[in-house]
Structures are given as structure tokens and as C-alpha cells.
């Protein structure tokens, strides 16, 4: 993931140590000095995200990575970055919460990532990879989309993806970074008017207009950018909705269910914001029910319900606190649900 960021043109990493994302920082600390980049261990998560704000103001590709409690601290800066229309990449390798929680994998920051990465009316792009290869690929996408839409992007991973190893292939392209950033505060060299990176608008009319413009951009993103994987959905009776590492367990369970004659399928949102509503809506016409499977007490299930809009029942199954659901548990839930549905 770190190497993918570097290949995407990232030369500035600001972070603070926290389990379980220390691998990214350690890799950056090793690589950055060799390629003329910056690795800086900040005094706090708050300082790190504000260093990101500074570097993003300068127009460079920059990233920080952390894990759940650290992301909570960063939310102030993320709000300012979004309010100043700056692009950057934030990695959250989620662990169990609330509070100090635990250090085992979790997906309980879904609400935070999609609804509340800080105060105010705003969104960030949220990508949820399910394999190490996809994590690499999405780093490229995240940088490109962040630059295109001038907003923060987050890779929402979990402790399982954060620590596992799988073979990956790096796309051979070096990032072209062709997006111009005329707004960047690089010093005007006496050649242009001065640029201001700012999120303060004391006049409520001006602020409203700013926010409304930003939400028009969000509408375009919701139209163009949702990504989802559909697996055996076409003839499915039950569609499981699941993201990230959990979706791999769900896929195993779907395969087992199929082997037993239960027509199960899966929709895996790859972008959590924008949420792939259309994929869910389409399936809602043909399936008999949905089940959201998450490593939380049920967060994404809200978005599934909103998309299904009452057309079909939406069930939930989850484990939390750092427990990874097993394929057998998920299969049991499928059997129970389908037994009940018949």
C-alpha cells in the first residue's frame, strides 16, 4: 500500500505510531529518504493531519495513515481539509472500539468514515479494499479521484488486511499527476494574484453557497464514481452485502450455500462513500431479502436499508470487538434466514 502511494507520486508521509498500521509507517520511513521524499513522525495525530493540510496546500500528493483512535483525533484536520477543498490520502486500518478498544480487526468506523470524519456538512471519498492487490490498486484510484474532485480520500481497511500478506503486482505506470493545481499556495512568484487556502466564511450566505457548490460536486460523484463487485447476484434469492476483509468470508459462505442449493449472492461495495445504491436497488427488484454482514453491530446496514427503501427485508449479522466472523457462522445465518423466508 505504501509502495503504491509512492508509485502514485506521493513523496510526503506524516504519521504517528499506532497499532495495527505501523507497517505502513515503517515502510515509508525506510523508503522516503531514498527517493528524496519526506517521512516525518509527528508529535501527535493532530499535528500529522495538519502537516498533511500544509503539504496538500502546496499541491503535492501527501498521505497519513492511522488506526481508529488516531483517526478520531484527525477528524478536526480532515474537516478543515475538506472545507478548504484540498486533496489528500488517509489510511484507516480499523481496530475494535470504542475508546481504546482493542487491536484486532474491526469495521466499526463505517459510520465515522461515511458520515462523521469531522464537524460540518461534507463528505470524503471512502474506498474499502478486500485484498492486498485491491488495496494497492485503490491507492492509485484514491489519489486520482481526490485530485480530480479536490477532496480527501480514505482507504478504510481493517487489521486483517493491515497485517496479512498476499502477492501483489504493481501497475507499471508511474502516476502522471496531470491534474493542474492552480489553487496551490506555492508562492505567487509575482506572476499571479495570491492564493488563499481557507475554510472560513463569516458571511452565512457566502458559506452556504460554498457548501452548496461542494454538494453539487458530491452529486456528480454519486452519479459517476460508485464501485461495487457483484457476485452471483443475478439469480440470487438472498444477497449478502459486505465490504473489506469480511466480504472474503462472506464469499466463502455464499459458495457453501450454493453447494447446498441455496441461491445466495453477494454485493461488495468498494466505495463506501459514494455508496453503490444502484447496485442494491437493482438487486432489490429480484431478490427475496438482503443480509448485511459486518465486523460491527450494524453500521453499513443503514445504507443498505436506505437503498432498499422498504422493498425487501434487510437482515444483519455481525461480530464486533475484534472478532472475525467465520464462514460457518455466516452460512448458518443464511440457512436460518432462508429457512424462515420459505
Amino acid at each position: 500500500m505504501a509502495e503504491a502511494a509512492i508509485k502514485s507520486g506521493c513523496r510526503h508521509f506524516f504519521g504517528y505510531p499506532i497499532t495495527p498500521q505501523t507497517e505502513v509507517a515503517a515502510y515509508m520511513a525506510k523508503r522516503m529518504p531514498k527517493i528524496g521524499g519526506t517521512y516525518l513522525q509527528a508529535e501527535s495525530e493532530i499535528a500529522a493531519i495538519n502537516m498533511v493540510l500544509g503539504a496538500a496546500s502546496a499541491g503535492v500528493r501527501v498521505m497519513t495513515s492511522s488506526s481508529s483512535p488516531g483517526i478520531s483525533l484527525k477528524t478536526e484536520g480532515i474537516s478543515y481539509i475538506a472545507g478548504s477543498d484540498l486533496p489528500c490520502l488517509i489510511i484507516n486500518v480499523q481496530r475494535g472500539g470504542p475508546g481504546l478498544g482493542g487491536i484486532q480487526p474491526s469495521q466499526a468506523d463505517y459510520w465515522q468514515a461515511t458520515r462523521a470524519t469531522g464537524h460540518g456538512d461534507f463528505h470524503i471519498l471512502v474506498f474499502a479494499p478486500s485484498t492486498i492487490q485491491e488495496m494497492v490498486d485503490l491507492v492509485y484510484t484514491a489519489y486520482d479521484k481526490a485530485d480530480e474532485y479536490r477532496m480527501p480520500a480514505m482507504i478504510l481497511a481493517d487489521g486483517m488486511l493491515g497485517q496479512m500478506m498476499e502477492p501483489v503486482e504493481f501497475p507499471e505506470k508511474e502516476a502522471d499527476q496531470k491534474i493542474e493545481k492552480p489553487w496551490a499556495t506555492t508562492g505567487h512568484q509575482n506572476k499571479r494574484a495570491h492564493n488563499i487556502v481557507n475554510s472560513l466564511y463569516l458571511d452565512p450566505n457566502e458559506l452556504e453557497q460554498k457548501v452548496v457548490e461542494r454538494f453539487k460536486r458530491y452529486e456528480r460523484i454519486k452519479e459517476k464514481e460508485p464501485l461495487a463487485e457483484e457476485y452471483l447476484v443475478d439469480d440470487a434469492d438472498i444477497v449478502l452485502v459486505s465490504f473489506g476483509a469480511t466480504s472474503r468470508i462472506v464469499k466463502s459462505a455464499v459458495n457453501s450455500a450454493r453447494a447446498m442449493g441455496i441461491k445466495a449472492g453477494m454485493i461488495r461495495p468498494i466505495t463506501l462513500w459514494p455508496f453503490p445504491e444502484k447496485a442494491i436497488q437493482k438487486a432489490a427488484d429480484t431478490v427475496s431479502c438482503f443480509m448485511s454482514v459486518e465486523m460491527s453491530m450494524g453500521q453499513m446496514v443503514d445504507d443498505v436499508r436506505l437503498a432498499v427503501n422498504g422493498k425487501k427485508p434487510v437482515y444483519f449479522f455481525g461480530r464486533t470487538g475484534g472478532i472475525i466472523p467465520s464462514p460457518a457462522e455466516v452460512l448458518e445465518q443464511i440457512q436460518k434466514t432462508m429457512g424462515g423466508a420459505k
Partner: protein, 178 residues
Amino acid sequence: MALKNFLLAGFGGQGILFSGKVIAYSGLMDGKEVSWLPSYGPEMRGGTANCSVCISDEPIGSPLVLSPDVLMAMNLQSFDKFIDSVAPGGVAVIDCTLIDKKSSRTDITAIYVPATALASENDLQGLANIILIGAILKHTGFADFEAVKKAIDKCVPPKKRHLIEANLRAIELGMQYE
């Protein structure tokens, strides 16, 4: 072989995670899909280290191994905890220097190798884990021997290159043990 799920378990410091890497890289050298997941989930208790490895012809679903085809156990706690989870028809490779218990299961193959004792007798201290990989290789043929050699070459860090030869001897020792 469509799918082989490995669960390696023991104390931290016995080279459990390293063993997992060697197995995963062996699969990779053979052109398979692989995953390696260090001690995670409810089983992480009591200072034990364990590691899930999957080798498959297909993309890997769940990387977390709950019902292993192959169990490598290097302490009593791990033996007690995981022996019943081995898939029927599976293989359990047990370091009987450290575990003086036998499995009562008849639907799995239990292999007892005094790996820790063998390691000290043969001047291979700290390589009991690799001896056990040799035994696993012998009884499951999870990868080509050449692939395992390449994997060891890949996994041993630059600072420890001098240990490659000992690692290879350990593998062979495990393969020869009757």
C-alpha cells in the same frame, strides 16, 4: 490440490510466523494464490503466536484458517486448542519434544516429530520449526522441494544469509524423519 489451509501455532519466538512465510512463499514459487495472516482472532491468547496460511489454485476467500488441512503444533496449549479443529482427512504435525500428548482422533493423520530435540542434536538450534516444515512437506507434498528452497532463500533476511544452509539441512532432516 485445490486448497490447502495451514494453521501454525506455538509460542512467540519459535519462528511460527517465519514458518508461515516459508510455506506461503513456497506456494507463490509454485505459481499458486497464497495468503499469510498472523495471529488474529479469538485464538490469540496466552502469549501464543499463530499464523494462517492458504495456498490455492483459486483466489483465496477467507484468509483466516479455522479448520486447517494441516496443523503444525509447537506447544501443548496449541495442541489442545486446535487438534479438534483439524479437517477430517487432515494432517497434524506435532513437536513431541514439547508436547507429550497423543491425539485420539482416527480421522486425521498425526505425525510426531521430536523437532526441538533433533534441532539440538544436529546443531540446528532454533530451527525446530523448519524441521517440522520438512515433515509437513514429506507428508503432504504441499509444494515442490525446489520451490521450498527458493522460498527459504526469499524469506531469510539479508543479515542472516549464513543461516540458509542450516535451514536447508533442517528441511531435509524433517523430510527424512521416520
